[in-house]
Amino acid sequence: MTRPSAVADASRAAPATHRSAAGRGAARRGGPPRPGRRGALAVFLTPALLLFLSLVIAPIAVAGYASLYKWNGFGLPENFVGLDNYTRALADPTFRGDLWRGFVLIVLSLTVQLPAALGLAMLLNQPLRGRGVYRLVFFAPYVLSEVTTAVLFTLVLSPNRGLGGAISRWLGADAGAVFADPDTVLFAVFLVVSWKYFGLYMMLFLAARQGIPKELSEAAATDGATAWQAFRHVTLPLLGPTIRISVFLSVIGTIQLFDMVWVLTGGGPIHASETMAVTMYQYGFRRFEVGYASAISIVMFLLSLVFALTYQRVVLRRDTEGALTTQGAQR
């Protein structure tokens, strides 16, 4: 077997611009006849494309269109209002509050949740009897649905029959009803979100940490670096790509946070834990102001998109093999 497969090789090695030419050449020259390679391409690509265009791209286009109308969701939108829905959203204290609360949640995630996950991952990377069990336990909440988690914690933290009430009575403090107090509710939501998700980030960090060759930290130790110095100057930079992706996932996840909030608090009390997705749901599915809710959807979409693109340009760029950059970076 000496003749290289032009197609397979091209797809792995040749730069994008040369690929199509190589492919066509291969189809003409390619030793054994390959009947219907073009046809095969169409057949293989069609299901995914159909699904993706009709159920991912089209809805976003529909939302963009509907956001320009005052529309209750029934019949066709007729009452064109231009950008009114957007100006209304930006003037709406609830929606502005959503933005602020989203910002607070993101800051909390990045300053509390991710560092804690990173710390635990480093801890579990040490030789420690039973660390497999710890790892299994820490990651387990990730497989529970947000709804299950939220219902469980509603009851766990319930002031009358829950653990929260019992503990606060035991401490003699009045820490019950954290979800009913506008001052604490957002933090309570954050804690439950963290309970479910820190294991995910810990797992990602741990996987990345284990991909770093032992020799590196050993070399650092030989050179007289303290554990902290080795971590700061060797491990941490090498974890960079994973950390940056985790920040990305965390921000995008927070922008669309819905299930947890909806079940824990419904966004209350007095909007104190409301997120953009909850506001959108309220208007779209409860009050049938589909045009306005669509405008909120589009703002969420634009925020995600702008964040993703900026982040990719500015931060992820140096990671040659980032999930989101692999394809984009070649363009």
Binding site: R19, R34, L45, A48, P127, V147, M276, Q327, Q330
Partner: protein
């Protein structure tokens, strides 16, 4: 520093203490739920922390004996399995094309799919609802299955494409010499070779579908189609005063997820790490 023998005892003790403390934060709420299901509400108010006294099994047996729970479990399974077949099937075919075919616009298309990773599901839910209503897919499991599959495509395509690329060109070459067309190669060579990757993406898809709440919430007004997350939330609303019973329902709804986790933890971790590494 790296072998257990010379790590100082005290240090290891501290590490264990930290791990146990964090573990307790995870386990105690769940354990509270498990025990709470064996109590009645009186016991929950007076004795939320301790063992049930007496043990009450009515909450669990009542739910296990009701048709509603099993129906919701069945719906969740049906929807998760079907969604997974659709998304993995469609994504494997597309990933094959992206990994192995050369054609104009390939990178553009692949990028389009990758960008889909950034579309929050919540963004599309409202227009999706309008579209599904137009297609007559409300109160139809396909109304959940197809959108879930569509939104699962990006991550699945990315992982599978990456894997397909690692299969040497010689393998395809040999298959072609043996008379395999693209379909034969895909079906008889590529898919069997890709079993570990397929397992990984399937586990991811199952977990995502199992935990989905927003879509079934808006698609199913007919209770007989409700999945477990929707059912749990409704149950909480219905029995708001009966904490013990709701705890039992929550715990029972966790069992399949945790059981699945015990079996498929490796694939799940591999999949998540893989989707990040790309």
């Amino acid at each position: 520093m790296t072998s257990p023998t010379n790590a100082p005892r005290a240090r290891r003790l501290v590490l264990h203490l930290v791990c146990v403390a964090v573990g307790a934060l995870i386990v105690v709420p769940v354990w509270f739920g498990v025990l709470g299901g064996f109590k009645d509400n009186g016991q929950l108010s007076t004795n939320p922390l301790g063992w049930p006294d007496p043990w009450i099994t009515d909450n669990y047996t009542g739910i296990l004996g009701s048709r509603v729970f099993w129906r919701q479990l069945g719906n969740s399974v049906l929807i998760a399995v079907t969604s997974t077949f659709v998304v993995v099937g469609a994504a494997a075919m597309a990933a094959y094309v992206f990994a192995r075919f050369a054609f104009r616009g390939r990178e553009l298309l692949a990028t389009l799919f990758a960008v889909g990773l950034m579309f929050p599901f919540a963004v599309a839910i409202l227009p999706l609802f309008v579209l599904l209503r137009g297609m007559g897919l409300l109160d139809n499991p396909l109304g959940v299955i197809l959108p879930q599959a569509a939104f699962g495509l990006p991550v699945t395509v990315i992982i599978l494409r990456q894997f397909f690329r690692t299969i040497p060109g010689e393998v395809e070459e040999a298959a072609i010499l043996d008379g395999c067309g693209p379909f034969g190669f895909f079906w008889r060579v590529l898919l069997p070779m890709a079993r570990p990757a397929l397992a990984t993406v399937s586990v991811l898809a199952i977990v995502t579908s199992w935990n989905n709440f927003m879509l079934p919430l808006v698609v199913f007004t007919d209770q007989s189609w409700w999945t477990l997350p929707v059912g749990v939330q409704a149950f909480q609303g219905q029995y708001a005063d009966d904490t013990a019973r709701v705890l039992a329902y929550v715990v029972l709804s966790m069992v399949p997820a945790l059981g699945f986790y015990a079996v498929a933890e490796r694939q799940l971790v591999g999949g998540l790490a893989g989707s990040v590494k790309g």
